[in-house]
């Protein structure tokens, strides 16, 4: 039996690295410090849904085959495809992601990751407006105004508040944990009083004492210490914890942000409400934004996937930018998968672009909407797909999934998930962060190491090893093809010299030519 400390949890973008595991007989028996999701993964990853051997679909059924056969089949599919898409990547290590870019480049395919259905709009917003941001520790030390907008950390990033924001201890700001407990006690007390009053008054309605309010802010927002605001379309569990909850009308976040931008720049607004919120409330909220020491907005799918998409992010970033003229403000996306940030990071440093990278012309092309997986599938342009560390069959639109299975589908995953069930070649892999070590990037781009704490099941290897084998096999197949004198039209043109892509406009040519 051994106790392993400082383990990094491989689930969500929080990438908590203080997990303590007890390992007995190659199994994790106890998890300390982790949230419920963390514990369920470390204890429950050895489920009956684990794929035990590589599989190939023969006569309509998935049958067990050797690793060699599966690798060869996968390599054959990719080497012979004209426009394969390699999708997923967010739940595996950076080492595997690096191989992925190389493989996509080798087969002239598209390298895309799950950001495309999640925080892709955040990246697009960043590309429009930049982003004033910082590492999570900056917030822990300095933030006295924390806003969660369109996200629910209580459910999706359970330890976010206790590690990084309201309930964390910082050098300049203390945890608000005590204050929250007092609030809970007060609420519990209030409920007792109300139920007692109801019993004693025998059904007579006694009006509840109202806090004096002109639609303005609760007094808790003018307290010293950290303040928590949640903005969402419905009252989530995170909203229950907040000092103030603002309920925004669905699909009206863009209007709300722009209204705040106007107010923060001392402009008058000629309306009574914006996005369902009274203007007086917004004025007070703007005051709170401007008067903090350091404020931070964390945002999620509520902004990226509602009407406006990346424009919502663009204006949210612009709001934070405007606030930086008056105080200090940061904004961070709540990245979901534990290494989706890594997928963007690795793809970008190797190709220049963060996702949706099309290598079919021999050089990287990036045009979200054209070169991104979902759209390629919907237009039925791909002729092969490799899915790794993701489950698009479970969350892509039906049409896209239907198109995906019309062509050969290779799936690399530990579990028999919805995508694997539809696969033509299915290769089981080991869990990164439990059975395989590697590196990953937290939601704020801090790199962290993932540990190997137990051995993978017999015959199960890592994503990195599988991809390395496939790449080798692809190169061998292609070398054979050129040897057997294929007609030149078949092979993709391989430039012998580095060719700079010719600039499309004269203007650009002028810029590049600097006169002596």
């Amino acid at each position: 039996m051994s106790v392993i400390k400082s383990v990094t949890c491989p689930i969500c973008g929080c990438l908590c690295d203080d997990i303590e595991l007890t390992v007995e007989n190659n199994e994790v028996t106890k998890v300390k410090n982790g949230c419920a999701v963390c514990e369920s993964k470390f204890i429950g990853y050895r489920s009956e849904h684990r794929i035990k051997t590589p599989l190939i679909r023969k006569d309509g059924k998935l049958v067990p085959v050797s690793m060699k056969e599966a690798i060869h089949k996968a390599a054959e599919i990719l080497a012979n495809a004209n426009y394969p898409v390699l999708y997923g990547w967010s739940s595996t290590s950076c080492e595997a992601q690096r191989l992925g870019v190389e493989l996509a480049e080798e087969v002239g395919g598209v390298m895309d990751n799950t950001a495309v259905v999640c925080h892709g709009p955040s990246i697009l917003g960043e590309q429009e407006a930049g982003i004033p941001t910082g590492t999570l520790g900056q917030n822990r030390h300095r933030a006295d105004l924390i806003i969660y907008w369109g996200c629910d950390p209580w459910s999706a990033h359970p330890r976010h508040l206790e590690r990084y924001t309201s309930f964390a201890e910082g050098r300049f700001e203390k945890s608000e944990w005590q204050s929250y407990l007092k609030k809970l006690k007060a609420q519990a007390g209030q409920k007792k009083v109300e139920s007692t009053t109801r019993r004693l008054s025998a059904g007579v309605q006694i009006p509840r004492p109202q806090a004096c309010s002109l639609g303005g802010m609760p007094p808790s927002l003018s307290k010293r210490g950290r303040k928590l605001i949640v903005i969402d379309v419905r009252k989530t569990m995170s909203a229950e914890m907040a000092d103030f909850f603002i309920q925004v009308e669905p699909n009206k976040d863009y209007e709300l942000v722009q209204a705040l931008r106007a107010l923060v720049q001392d402009q008058e607004l000629d309306v009574d409400k914006v996005a369902g919120i009274p203007i007086e409330t917004l004025r007070e909220l703007a005051d709170a934004l401007v008067n903090c020491e350091l404020g931070v907005i964390f945002f999620g799918m509520g902004l990226t996937q509602s009407t406006g998409k990346f424009r919502n992010i663009e204006v949210a970033i612009s709001l934070v930018r405007d606030l930086n003229m008056r105080t200090k403000f940061l904004i961070l996306p709540m990245r979901g998968h534990f290494n989706v940030t890594g997928a963007n990071t690795v793809t970008a440093w190797q190709s220049g672009y963060p996702y949706g990278v099309d290598f079919s012309m021999g050089y990287p092309r990036y045009n979200p909407g054209e070169t991104t997986c979902m759209e390629i599938l919907l237009r039925e342009e791909n002729d092969a797909t490799l899915v790794i560390a993701a489950d698009p069959a479970a969350n892509f639109p039906k049409k896209a999934v239907q198109n995906m299975v019309k062509h050969p589908l290779i799936v690399i995953d530990p579990h028999m998930n919805a995508t694997a069930i539809l696969g033509d070649v299915v290769i089981p892999s080991a869990f990164v962060g439990i059975e395989v070590e590697g590196s990953a990037y937290r939601m704020d781009h801090v790199p962290l190491p993932l540990k190997k704490v137990v051995e993978p099941p017999e015959g199960i290897i890592s994503d990195l090893e599988i991809l390395t084998k496939i790449l080798e096999e692809v190169k061998a197949i292609k070398a054979q093809k050129t040897e057997t004198n294929q007609p030149p039209a078949e092979a993709k043109p391989k430039a012998k010299t580095e060719t700079k892509k010719k600039p499309k406009s004269v203007k650009k040519t002028k810029k590049k030519k600097e006169a002596a």
Partner: protein, 564 residues
């Protein structure tokens, strides 16, 4: 047993005093040797210039900041796509090239060593992962330490030795090479949106001044016997009138220098040599700065030359980047790092018809030409801040040819033409001097004993250019020389020919990552204290913070014994 003989070239090796002599250079097993056997492969370098491989002292090529820049500027890449070949990977440029392309392009320019001058310690792993993917050059990184809480606290207490032990720990932990300081005190202030405006301003919450930080770290550097000096980006960078702060900083370090050796390297001096009270009265302080340098020996500089192009600024100087945002209203990135440092990125276009930009262009060249001793000033563009490193040949042309300078100056804004000192400067740098500014001088200041020269024992990193010094007037024929510097005839790395006539011919050399393995006399205490404070200071566990040895693809640890 690979042997190579470069025959009959014009060799420029300032460290060994060789000025254009016709010499043979013999290489064996990746090192320069006295001679080789007659069966050695030969390169006929008749009529060609032979120098050591270039050593770039300051170029942002890898790490969190660089990558964030790449991600948010797809428009920078679309005009510069690079195709995959049978030997090389695909990628993109222009001002923020992807990692593989960075290596290939540097190699084609004849560079073999590049210093990555700013990494946030908490992001060190990221920098090393990227450096692993930059082939064909040796590299090293400088961790940002000027605003690190442990530095601020120990120096405020006056405990320089304790500070030194922490710095030693940090070098090992981040696999770093030198102490990088940016806007000391300013970055911690920026944590709450503030800045410092003079070297005697108090840093909020820490009871220390920039003067004390810089002096303290200079002392630490000496105590630890680090190969390079402190690498300093001064306060008030980019602010009109800031030359006074730069001079004050240099004066503040005078008494700490010993044996007439440099005690500090001030980087991209152009951005720190502004005179005038505001942008309207903006003018060059190259005269004042170069006068000081000509009379003192304790500071080295690099240019930070501006080129006229659409590039990207990125520095750890968060407040300065925010100022640039207020001026340009361009998309702006800010990234603060807990406990350590900050950073900012903003695209920027330098235009000839913008008076300030044009004067900035003039300043960099003025400083390089007015400083008499070429061993004190090195050529950089602070890539990508002043321009991409692919513009280096252009900068060399300006340095070696008055005609080249005039041709550019006459296209600049009239105000800049009037204010520029360049018309009064006739000096044109020779090939020998250019070799100092691009390899000999930089290698010397960095303490890289086996680089920047072609003496026996040096690493076999060689660049051969199509310049015949006997038949070429480099000042008059600067266009030919610029073209020659643009792509080497041969670039040789560790004794292997890697680039030939602008193409990569061998991509099997990943390049080494160098770092200083600093040993102090009492390391243990640091570890215990660190562990206790770690969770308080960072959101990362003590065990997960350091860069493990296996992270570096090809590490080169340089053992250093500190005197504390």
């Amino acid at each position: 047993m690979t042997e190579l003989l470069i025959k009959n070239g014009f060799v420029f090796d300032p460290i060994n005093g060789v000025n254009g002599e016709k010499m043979d250079i013999a290489i064996k097993d990746g090192k320069i040797v006295e001679k080789v056997r007659s069966t050695a492969k030969t390169i006929d370098a008749t009529g060609l210039t032979v120098m050591a491989g270039g050593v770039d002292i300051h170029s942002h090529i890898a790490g969190g900041e660089v990558n964030t820049g790449r991600i948010f500027r797809p428009e920078d890449h679309i005009k510069d796509a690079v195709s995959k070949t049978s030997l090389t990977r695909a990628g993109t440029g222009y001002s923020l090239p992807s990692t593989f392309v960075t290596g290939y392009r540097y190699s084609k320019l004849g560079y073999t060593t590049v210093m990555n001058p700013s990494i946030a310690p908490i992001g060190a792993k990221h920098a090393h992962e990227e450096l692993n993917d930059i082939p064909l050059i040796d590299k090293a990184s400088f961790p940002l330490l000027g605003d690190w809480w442990f530095v601020l606290e120990n120096l405020a207490k006056g405990d320089v030795e304790e500070c030194a032990r922490h710095i030693a720990w940090m070098m090992q932990t981040t696999k770093g090479y030198a102490i990088k300081i940016v806007n000391p005190g300013g970055l911690e202030s920026w944590g709450f949106g503030r800045n410092v405006h003079s070297i005697d301003d108090q840093v909020p919450n820490f009871c220390i001044t920039p003067r004390e930080i810089v002096r303290g770290l200079a002392k630490v550097n000496t105590m630890l016997n680090l190969p390079h000096t402190i690498h300093l980006h001064t306060n008030n960078l980019g602010v009109p009138g800031n030359y006074k702060t730069t001079l004050e900083t240099m004066r503040a370090l005078e008494d700490l220098a010993t044996n007439d050796k440099p005690i500090a390297h001030i980087t991209h001096i152009q951005f720190a040599s502004f005179a005038g009270d505001d942008w309207g009265k903006f003018r060059s302080a190259a005269d004042e700065i170069s006068k000081y340098i000509n009379n003192h020996n304790h500071i080295t500089l690099d240019m930070g030359q501006v080129t006229f192009t659409d590039t990207t600024t990125m520095t750890a100087d968060g407040p300065f980047e925010h100022t640039l945002y207020t001026l340009s209203k361009h998309k702006w990135i800010n990234s603060d790092f807990e406990t350590e440092t900050s950073g900012g990125i903003i695209p920027f276009q330098y235009k000839k018809n913008n008076a300030v930009n044009a004067i900035q262009w003039s300043i960099g060249l003025e400083i390089a030409l007015l400083i008499k001793d070429p061993w004190k000033i090195y050529m950089t563009t602070d890539h990508p801040n002043g321009g991409p490193f692919t513009a280096y040949p252009r900068v060399l042309a300006w340095l070696m040819s008055k005609k080249a300078r005039e041709a550019t100056l006459k296209k600049c804004h009239k105000k800049a033409q009037k204010k520029s000192l360049l018309p009064s400067i006739d000096r044109e740098l020779t090939l020998y001097e250019l070799a100092i500014l691009t390899r000999a001088g930089t290698a010397k200041t960095l303490g890289l004993k086996n680089k920047g020269h072609l003496g026996v024992g040096a690493d076999a990193d060689v660049a051969i250019f199509n310049i015949n010094p006997e038949t070429t007037d480099i000042a008059k024929q600067y266009k030919i020389v610029r073209k020659a510097f643009n792509s080497s005839v041969y670039t040789i790395k560790d004794g292997k020919i890697v680039a030939k006539d602008g193409e990569i011919v061998d991509n099997t050399t990943p390049g080494k990552t160098m770092w200083v393995d600093v040993r102090t006399k009492e390391p243990c205490k640091i570890d215990e204290e660190m562990k206790k404070k770690f969770r308080q200071y960072w959101t990362v566990d003590y065990e997960n913070y350091p860069v493990p040895d296996h992270y570096l693809k090809v590490p080169q640890a340089i053992p250093i014994q500190g005197s504390v």
